[in-house]
Symmetry: none
Subunit: 190 residues, 4 copies
DNA sequence: AATGAATGAGGCTTCATTCAT
DNA sequence: CATGAATGAAGCCTCATTCAT
């Protein structure tokens, strides 16, 4: 039985995510996280080794949450297209529902703050995506291109457009979504 | 009186760019920049009002340099495809030649540290790209889609792959470049 | 958790008062106060919001201490003259006993560093003096003059002479005190 | 013939006085004085050894100017009362005409920033006041009290009330002036 | 004489972290 | 487990002054 208080752990994570996405990284200190989580600064160190550890754990937490949502309603029997389209729209729905978590994940994706280990581990969650990519290739539905190029024309454009959507530079409508998916699908299929 | 030393200005900019791209933003302080530029911390304030001003000016400097390189060898008479392909490869060449500046620009693109004014002004440099996009649409070569979607399937994939290339997650070869351009071109043309 | 240490709070106040009165205001920095109080600079910020807050709080603290001493042995039944004379000598005794606090109070009285709120609040402590002044006027003992003029010929001369006493320009003896009180009393009475 | 530019010297002094009285001492740096005087920081060092020297020289300059004004229209043949009354009103007129210089002088009177030498030298200018004080005593018009006590009941009350006038805590009218002079005169005469 | 560039020292404040209860 | 106190290091920036022209 653990005595540590899950509520506090959660409050700290939430506060950190919220602060980082709204105020930016430079303005997010341990004390501010503590204050926002209504907790003592020292308490953070009960749950996390240090700031780096906190950030890494949060990163993993967000990634895991994301990947769980991505597989909603997905079934092995689906065709490659159905499968990918479902994941695609799941991602869209997730981002719209959790804009803060989405932004957080994006902000950290290319940051030197997240160490190699965490990045690698975060890949684990995306195993199902890798599997479907391989199946698509072996079924000759998808072009024979590296995974990176596949991603660069499918989920990356979606991410970029969502980012712009949240920064209010561009409004990503449902109509756009259809167009964008069609373009992406054409791009990576034979 | 002493005269303002362009060497010093340049040294400060170079040091800042190098530090930010290699050590990350959080680990780049004014005094570290000063040390790297072999200059007193106070000297930075002779050339820049404060840290924010320094970052904005450097951002604009890099953007301007980038956009200048992008238009190398570009001519009005070119077809839309030739034009875009030239810019596309220019971007590739530029990134390979100036990996640090490229990374810097990417890191700052979505940062709250660059104020609105600088972002707006940086758009000015990309006017030629907007023009060719409009021409492509009016010539019915390009699909009738918003600029953002166009970019999301052309230059954004290239950026992503270059980023991965520099972070050594993926090697972007010349061969890949051809594939990638073809996919991009197919994606955004009728 | 550690408990807030009143000793530290006091040490910081004492150090600040001592430094300001002896070295002058311009030479009193937060780090010097910290060093004199044998405390880390950061510790000051546990007890005070910032430098301005520190100065205001100390100002109020000194003012309150002063006003408390002024009313020693004072009774409502006293005649106006007895009352004022008692306060008068109390002020003298206080200044002689706490030269540093006296000097501190004087140095700050007309300083822009003490914000309006603190000045107003400091007036609260002097309410008894205002009351006796009004009583003196209604009893026709005191001349019908504004408070400011009353003060300018009673406590202000005393302050000035005490200041000169401490700066060793002039020695204010007990004998002088009697003379000075007599002059002051004559000046403001009918 | 001196080549130094008196205009610049004057501009520096004026700027310093203005800044110190309006923005306070802590916010008055050499660079700010230079900027306000439309001069390079280095230029100040052509005219003054360092900051301390600048402040001392300005203090003397203001004191000298003040004492010159005080003797306006004063004649040896005047009675002690006429003489002192004239000086008294001269001081009032001077303060009203040059509020900034007046405030400056007051601000510095008890400051550790003005070294002993300057203070002593500033006394030189007030010799005529000492002379009339001695004459008043030998003529048995004035009480046989030390100079300091004499000043504490004559010019000091006036200074205090002027200070309050300028800080808008109290309006010192012509009517008040008559009352105040009468009180002062009564206080120090037999 | 006059100046803008240049700077080491130091200003105030916040940081990530540990201490002691 | 939980905490507010405590802190050395470091953050950004300005200062008084000197340099070099």
């Amino acid at each position: 039985m653990r005595v540590k208080d899950d509520k506090k752990h959660q409050a700290i994570c939430d506060a950190a995510i919220e602060l980082i996405t709204t105020k930016g990284f430079a303005d997010t200190s341990m004390s501010k996280i503590a204050k926002a989580a209504d907790v003592s600064p020292a308490t953070i160190y009960v749950y996390f080794e240090n700031k780096e550890d906190l950030l890494n754990k949060i990163y993993l937490y967000v990634k895991e949450q994301t990947s769980r949502e991505l597989l909603n309603g997905v079934k092995e029997e689906m065709s490659v297209k159905e499968y990918i389209k479902t994941v695609w729209y799941n991602f869209y729905k997730y981002a719209k529902k959790n804009p803060i978590n989405f932004s957080f994940g994006e902000q950290f994706a290319n940051s030197p703050l997240v160490d190699g280990i965490s990045k690698e581990e975060s890949l684990r969650y995306f195993q199902p995506m890798l599997d479907i990519f391989q199946r698509g290739k072996s079924e000759k539905v998808l072009k024979d291109i590296p995974l990176e190029i596949f991603a660069a024309f499918t989920f990356e454009p979606l991410k970029i457009l969502l980012k712009q959507h949240f920064s209010e530079d561009f409004k990503l409508t449902k109509k756009h979504m259809e167009t964008v998916f069609d373009i992406a699908w054409d791009a990576v299929t034979n």
